[in-house]
């Protein structure tokens, strides 16, 4: 390693050892901003709750026991998972054709427009998109007003503050992630396999479902996983579109930490949330590796 400058034929090693300090600032940021906080959160999740006391005391599993012993919280977890699952399924249904069309568009200008139309909403922030759905779905919102104005409804129907509205709002939030994930795999597959299938007499549907989709399976998996994880952790959409009575896990963490000020319980909720996320990520990447080899 020390002879690097004298041996340009094998340049790498020494330069890198010397360059290692360049990693330090970024690692320090992650350490202070994420790792230490998570360690503290883990500690809090097994601490005794003492009202009006920030010091950590005790070592107990009662926060977790409270969660898994109370049907109220289990119901919230079940609802969160159900909402996430429905959203993921619908996102896949809508995302497949959208991503396929984008990746097979031949005019570069149109392709850029479609990609921007996907990425701009993706990075628009949840507050703004929730605002849009509130304007559309409220009792006197655009959808109801147009339906009543057009004579299709005599009275507005309640859409906002229902589970359906939350699912609709989340789909709009998650769909761009699904489209981007799928679009990149479809781009990678290319059209040769499809052309081969078509030239051998398969019709376009058979080609799509028997050739393209199986080839895209790893991307479909990771797109679904991403959607599911984001849905489980959603905050703004359930709070604003679901209203106070439609409770999900993300808002509960905030409520316990900031409004109820029960940090140990908030911490255990957060860890359950993250546990669900991590277990799913691990399981699916193991399944993927088993089926498709290292990715």
């Amino acid at each position: 390693m020390s002879r690097v400058s004298a041996a340009p034929a094998q340049p790498p090693a020494g330069g890198r050892t010397r360059a290692g300090w360049l990693l330090l600032p970024s690692l320090a940021l992650v350490l202070v901003g994420l790792l230490l906080p998570l360690v503290l959160l883990a500690r809090y999740s097994v601490a005794q709750f003492e009202p009006a006391e920030t010091a950590i005391s005790g070592l107990t599993l009662e926060n977790y026991a409270r969660f898994f012993g109370d049907p109220f919280y289990l119901w919230i977890l079940a609802r969160t998972l159900t909402v996430a699952l429905s959203c993921t399924a619908i996102c896949l249904l809508l995302g497949l054709p959208a991503a396929y069309v984008i990746s097979r568009v031949t005019r570069p200008g149109l392709k850029t427009v479609l990609i921007l139309a996907t990425v701009i909403p993706l990075l628009m922030g949840n507050a703004v998109r929730a605002a849009g759905w509130m304007m559309l779905l409220a009792d006197r919102g655009l959808v109801n007003s147009v339906l009543v104005f057009g004579g299709i409804l005599s009275d507005p129907v309640r859409i906002l503050y229902t589970g359906t509205a939350v699912v609709i709002g989340l789909i709009a939030v998650l769909l761009p992630f699904m489209i981007i994930s799928l679009q990149s795999v479809f781009d990678g597959i290319g059209e040769v396999y499809e052309e081969a299938a078509l030239s051998m007499g398969a019709n376009p549907w058979v080609t799509f479902f028997r050739v393209t989709v199986p080839l895209a399976m790893p991307g479909i998996f990771s797109g679904c996983l991403l959607c599911f994880v984001l849905a489980v952790n959603a905050y703004a959409t359930p709070v604003l579109i679901g209203g106070p009575s439609f409770q999900m896990m993300g808002p509960k963490v905030y409520e316990q930490a900031i409004k109820v000020y029960n940090w140990p319980f908030a911490a255990s909720l957060a860890f359950i949330l993250m546990g669900v996320t991590l277990v799913l990520t691990l399981l699916s990447s193991l399944t993927l590796q088993k089926r498709y080899g290292a990715l």
């Binding site: 340049p11 959160l41 010091a55 507050a127 929730a130 605002a131 919102g141 769909l175 990149s184």
Partner: protein
């Protein structure tokens, strides 16, 4: 006989196009609704509108909380961008150069802010800051500093990803060659490395700004009086009323973000960021 458009040969393309149209309708509907409503000449949203006006933009700008939120978010975005570039670009240079022991671990650590859910990370960071305050008496939670650290952190993985992507496929021996020919490290950076990573850095900067500007979950725990970001102001307002004023505010955010991303796309194919 069934009609021709139902045959498997003919129905595929229209069906795909229809699915694609439905998907984009879902994604774009809320944004279109906001922009449309922001011009309504009614205090309460109703259809059809009485007329169209620009008055809500002026009204929103006259409300201190929106103006303050906007300014805070701009400042925060600028600081987060700067910090994430300052710490992220050097890290990307090391990561892109190749293998070393522990590279995988380092990379996963630096990408972790993307994986840990915002609400979990936000709660955890908030608790750490409060503990820190209890121990030292220095307040960081609910101040600009706390927000700036959190936002730099969420911007970091994107900066690293974009800068690293711009280095992929570039011969790492270019810099080595310049070094062996006697160029000083700073000259090598300026004349060899910088031209290569510039698109990635510009895209990384714009992306970081956008990520910081729109963040809600992470900031939720960290905002305080005088340091409330625009998305939080929007959410707080929405819990009480949905009207053309908030539509005007949201439209400003939509236009700002859209402009940022259109510019980014000129430097860097956006799909490479994901």
């Amino acid at each position: 006989m069934r009609p021709a458009f139902l045959s498997p040969q003919r129905s595929f393309k229209p069906a795909m196009t229809a699915g694609c149209a439905a998907a984009f309708a879902m994604v774009l509907a809320p944004l279109v609704a906001i922009i449309w409503v922001s011009f309504f000449d009614n205090k309460i949203i109703s259809f059809p509108p009485k007329g169209y006006t620009l008055a809500w933009y002026a009204a929103a700008w006259d409300m201190p909380r929106f103006r303050d939120g906007f300014v805070t978010s701009l400042e925060l975005g600028a600081v987060a961008t700067l910090v994430s570039l300052l710490v992220g670009v050097p890290a990307s240079l090391v990561l892109a150069r190749g293998r070393f022991r522990g590279r995988e671990v380092v990379q996963s650590l630096l990408m972790a802010p993307l994986i840990v859910p915002g609400i979990v990370a936000g709660a955890a960071f908030y608790m750490l800051l409060i503990e820190f305050e209890v121990l030292t008496g220095i307040q960081i939670a609910t101040t600009f500093t706390g927000l700036a650290i959190a936002h730099s952190l969420i911007a970091l993985p994107w900066t690293i990803r974009l800068v690293t992507a711009s280095l992929l496929g570039v011969d790492s021996q270019l810099a080595e060659a310049a070094l062996t020919m006697g160029a000083r490290p700073l000259t090598v950076f300026r004349r060899v490395t910088w031209p290569v990573i510039r698109p990635g850095v510009v895209a990384g900067a714009l992306f970081s700004f956008v990520i910081s500007f729109v963040d809600l979950e992470k900031s939720l725990f960290l905002v305080g009086p005088g340091t409330t970001t625009l998305p939080i102001v929007i959410v707080n307002y929405l819990e009480w009323s949905v009207d053309p004023t908030i539509a005007a505010v949201a439209t400003v955010q939509i236009l700002l973000i859209a402009a940022g991303l259109v510019v980014t796309n000129r430097y860097f194919r956006l799909t490479r960021a994901f």
